[in-house]
Symmetry: C2
């Protein structure tokens, strides 16, 4: 038994990518079994973060990216005036920390919105391994590329959409992410507060609350505290703008 395996047995969590229900969505996607095993060996399962605990803080030295296993994280900046600006929410299978590669420091903080477990992937090891496994390297490029285009969609949302469109986009985005993981696309629980939603969308809390109330009144959704049910999905999609997925649009 290698020292490495030893340490794995000593850790509180010894699950593996192979057994992980998220492997088809996460980095192991598109890897052969033997390559998954290699990836598995560099990953450290960490003990759960409690609500409000930090995974890393703005300015910390960058060493790892993290895959969310369960729970939810938010990333945020602190602006010049000391206010928080949330830049993203992270659900299971999603990778946090990629923005730290360039400057060798995390440019944002990451905090747990509820009890959250993550897989720590030391980046230097991941980079080495990606030299041996081209499909892993390609997968990393894809994840980063995806993040870039998602963020650009977010810029469109912040720059051009009104309050209704913002909230509808947000809910449908969550819906799609739940669906991808095999959960209900129409019925889910928000792990973030109204305030955090508003912060993320560039809206006041009161506006978020009013829009959600109105959506409920118009029978687009049903709300019970943090529980959301999307009642009229087509109408919600119409609100967001059918063409929100780009490809469909004719060239100009």
């Amino acid at each position: 038994m290698s020292a490495h395996t030893q340490s794995r047995f000593n850790s509180t969590l010894t699950s593996q990518c192979q057994n992980c229900s998220l492997s088809a969505l996460c980095l192991p996607l598109a890897l052969a079994d033997e390559d998954i095993t290699k990836l598995d060996q560099i990953i450290e399962r960490k003990k759960p973060l409690k609500k409000g605990e930090f995974l890393f803080r703005q300015g910390d030295v960058f060493d790892s990216v993290y895959a969310v296993r369960s729970g939810t994280l938010k990333t945020f900046n602190i602006t010049a005036y000391g206010e928080e600006q949330i830049t993203g929410f992270y659900c299971p299978s999603e990778l946090v920390g990629l923005s730290g590669i360039d400057s060798n420091a995390y440019p944002v903080s990451a905090k747990a919105l509820e009890t959250t477990t993550v897989c720590e992937i030391p980046f230097s090891h991941l980079e080495e391994l990606s030299s041996q496994i081209p499909s892993l390297k390609h997968q990393i490029f894809k994840v980063m590329s995806r993040k870039i285009s998602d963020d650009q969609q977010m810029m469109v949302l912040l720059g051009k959409k009104n309050a209704d469109e913002k909230v509808a986009s947000f809910l449908l985005n969550l819906s799609n992410r739940f669906k991808k993981r095999g959960y209900s696309a129409t019925s889910f629980r928000l792990s973030m507060s109204r305030g955090e939603i508003g912060n993320y969308l560039g809206l006041a809390v009161e506006t978020v609350s009013r829009v959600i109330t109105r959506f409920q009144k118009n029978e687009l959704i049903h709300v019970d505290g943090k529980e959301i049910e999307i009642v009229d999905l087509p109408e919600m999609q119409k609100l967001v703008g059918v063409a929100s997925d780009c490809g469909k649009i004719a060239h100009i």
Copy 2:
């Protein structure tokens, strides 16, 4: 002489990374001479785009990323209602098209704001080469990571800043990019219209015009059409918020 070299000699532009004044900012950064030569061999110099011409269009199959050699590009989405939303401006040494890797199609269009030349870097070749040259792979990771954190700063701008802060941030951002390339940080020419600035910043044209006029009245800048001179750099920086570069902020 290989077929490849042959084709290079036939092309209108045969300059090389080695001679390129941008090599210290662009992908060749951190590469050994022999590696630059390898990179050089996969790069195709394209004939200049005229103002208004497309480099690629939203939905086109992704095959290459492009480094801007001279001129400026904008990337944009077309929203559900057919309006344009500009997601970025690209200056010499900057890489366009990275958001296309994930879906194998460009999720945005790229258009020249003035006569612009680019180096085309076929991504499949770049990816292959990055397996042989770890520092090249690392450089690509860094460029993508940088793009992610820049976009997140843009999200903060769009979500939290008022019109004055947006315009000031925009001008200082351009200033920094000119400076990095060895040009004046305080005196430069805007290649985009007021309308494009407003579109990018989530402001109406009229607002951009008014803010710029007011900045001039308050002797922060001097404006002559598209020529900008930053007169009071410290005051402009104060406007943007001194802490706009993250690292300086204490943990909370």
